[in-house]
Symmetry: C2
Subunit: 411 residues, 2 copies
Amino acid sequence: MYTINRERFLRLMDEQAQFGATDAGGVSRPALSPEDMQIRNWFQQQITANGLKYAIDGAGNQSAILESSNLNAKTLLLGSHFDSVPNGGRFDGALGLIAAFEVLLSIKDAGIALPFHLEVINLTDEEGTLMGITGSRAIVGLLSREELLNPRGERERLTEGMSRAGLSDESMLSAKRDPALLLGYLEVHIEQGTRLEEAKFNIGVVTSIVGIRSYWMTFKGEAAHAGTKPMDKRRDAFWGASAFALWAKDRIMADFHPGVVNFGRIHLEPGAFNIVPAEVKLAVEFRHGEITQLDAMETAILEQAHLAAQEYGLQLEAETGDSLLPAPMADSFVTAIETASEKLGLSHTRLLSFAGHDAQSFAHVTNSAMFFVPSVNGISHNPLEYTKPDDCVNAANVMLQAVLEIAGITT
Amino acid sequence: MYTINRERFLRLMDEQAQFGATDAGGVSRPALSPEDMQIRNWFQQQITANGLKYAIDGAGNQSAILESSNLNAKTLLLGSHFDSVPNGGRFDGALGLIAAFEVLLSIKDAGIALPFHLEVINLTDEEGTLMGITGSRAIVGLLSREELLNPRGERERLTEGMSRAGLSDESMLSAKRDPALLLGYLEVHIEQGTRLEEAKFNIGVVTSIVGIRSYWMTFKGEAAHAGTKPMDKRRDAFWGASAFALWAKDRIMADFHPGVVNFGRIHLEPGAFNIVPAEVKLAVEFRHGEITQLDAMETAILEQAHLAAQEYGLQLEAETGDSLLPAPMADSFVTAIETASEKLGLSHTRLLSFAGHDAQSFAHVTNSAMFFVPSVNGISHNPLEYTKPDDCVNAANVMLQAVLEIAGITT
């Protein structure tokens, strides 16, 4: 059975962690920052030094390409990202990319002939310092000029980063590829949670990246003197918002496991110690992997909001915010990952990804799949983020076997 | 039986409402604003035109004085305020002052000889545009230089107002009077609530002005990814703060009627749709008329906060804020008001004042008492504030009879 080169792989993992290294033991490589540019240069050198074809597109996505002898073949992308959150860890993104690169080197070393082009791709700005899963959205055509002009990370930072990398609005929009030329996308990532660790699984096979819906729920009561207005005469918007939050989270936990709901922002009017709150605006965000469950959660959450408003004599305004469709992973790729795990004698389980990843962009246009390896204590976006060397090696070996499965090569 | 001059009294009520009149039918006379200065000039003219002694102290408190023939007599103050909140109503403060002035004129007209000096006093800045119950606190020595330098309404506005009225920090502090020269303080005010209206009482005799205590309650949990962190693993500070607010208000309503509690401000960290709240800071304010009840409320509220923190795995920090002692009214004056009401055939009840009034300043150093007349629908600090003419006349007549009671004059 083919396996990756453990020594080379772990050395590359150590090397990548030098770029943007922090005193705390993590890395800080925000997208297109000087530190990100350094690791990009290093990655380009690694690609060419290993005799692979190097390419970069208008969105700054860097590729190492192992071409099939069949030049009309489609391309299987193996991807992840070198960019990190500020003061992040050395595994988030980098593990997936180094594993993919090691898979490509191992296949080249073994002289395996693939029926598809194999392309390892460093996708720009997965973390959202500038816009979020940017490189993958550029490839599938989900990046708009409007967003480039008004990015969540501020236009000035985006233009600075683009100029550092020789990119422009026009080049970003030109990175769109013809989906007909893609066979699919495969990614391995650290779990950023404790489900695998707690249940002692080696591999978590993602069946769907959750969809996200959000609301601003506004409860409107009546401002009143916090002394003279008797308690039983108040229409206190904060009472209603509090009851809603508790009822909604209880309902989601009881009926929609493993779905999640969060109340992450709040605004209260008029906002004085001695005035009964007239208006509370509460941010609600909820996630699930299946669209039918997401629909049912939405109905349940709105129901609880109406009940809370009614209970406390309030008006309710429910305003929808950003949303994201669930991204189901490709069945054939999910099976390939499971088969690969079994061949390697690794335990595996199916799970949802509750965080966003580039795989969700690709799910819109091609076969897309991803799997997780355990994160110690689930710590992530933190210098203490850690995945054991054996789990890192498992990541690369499962990816190698999955690629061979997809290629129909049984060893 | 002596009664006030209804026609003159209602005419004066109409006249005062011209100063700072708003299109909506209310008045806007923030303390020491140009509009407040206009009504002050008018009041001085009314005093002198009626042959009364006029005085003004260093805090800008204006007085109409009817001296007793016994020049060593103490002084009974009848007070209230002409200042209003911005865009307020025409009864809050003004009714009490016009009623007191009419009482003084009626006593003078009737040639009644009092065993004390009778002084009607327009107290500066009751509403707190600048500092709050300012004139009365200056008189009883509860105004500090620190507060003058850092007033809640901003130093610049205070100095502007003081200069408009010819006052200074030094003059404000010089307004303190020797309590030994005071017999007491009496005030009538609109209820600013619906207790009298609903129970159909003419007069509400205040037994105590409530004490106020406040806290910042900080619940500390753990920030987490609002997707990847399973619901049952979260330490969500907002869940704890919500449960605390609901439990505390239920407890206060069940066990501490007519005490009140309010949660008027909130701050949530880090404050993003997709991050589980790590920290919630909640403003808590509670009021009761008896210090023993206030103590028990404080214990109950802290207990609920600790229970909520425990239930949701949070740390609790309880930081005390501003507080105000309850101000019990003088028994003898309370009885005088009740006797006066009965002589006039008016129904009366005892109640707490849940709002602050100048009477609470005077309660620290002398006999102090106040009573309420009904406010239609309890509306206050609003141009729609309204008290019926008969209730206004009752206010003045009860005050007249109460003064005669205190003087020991039975008619």
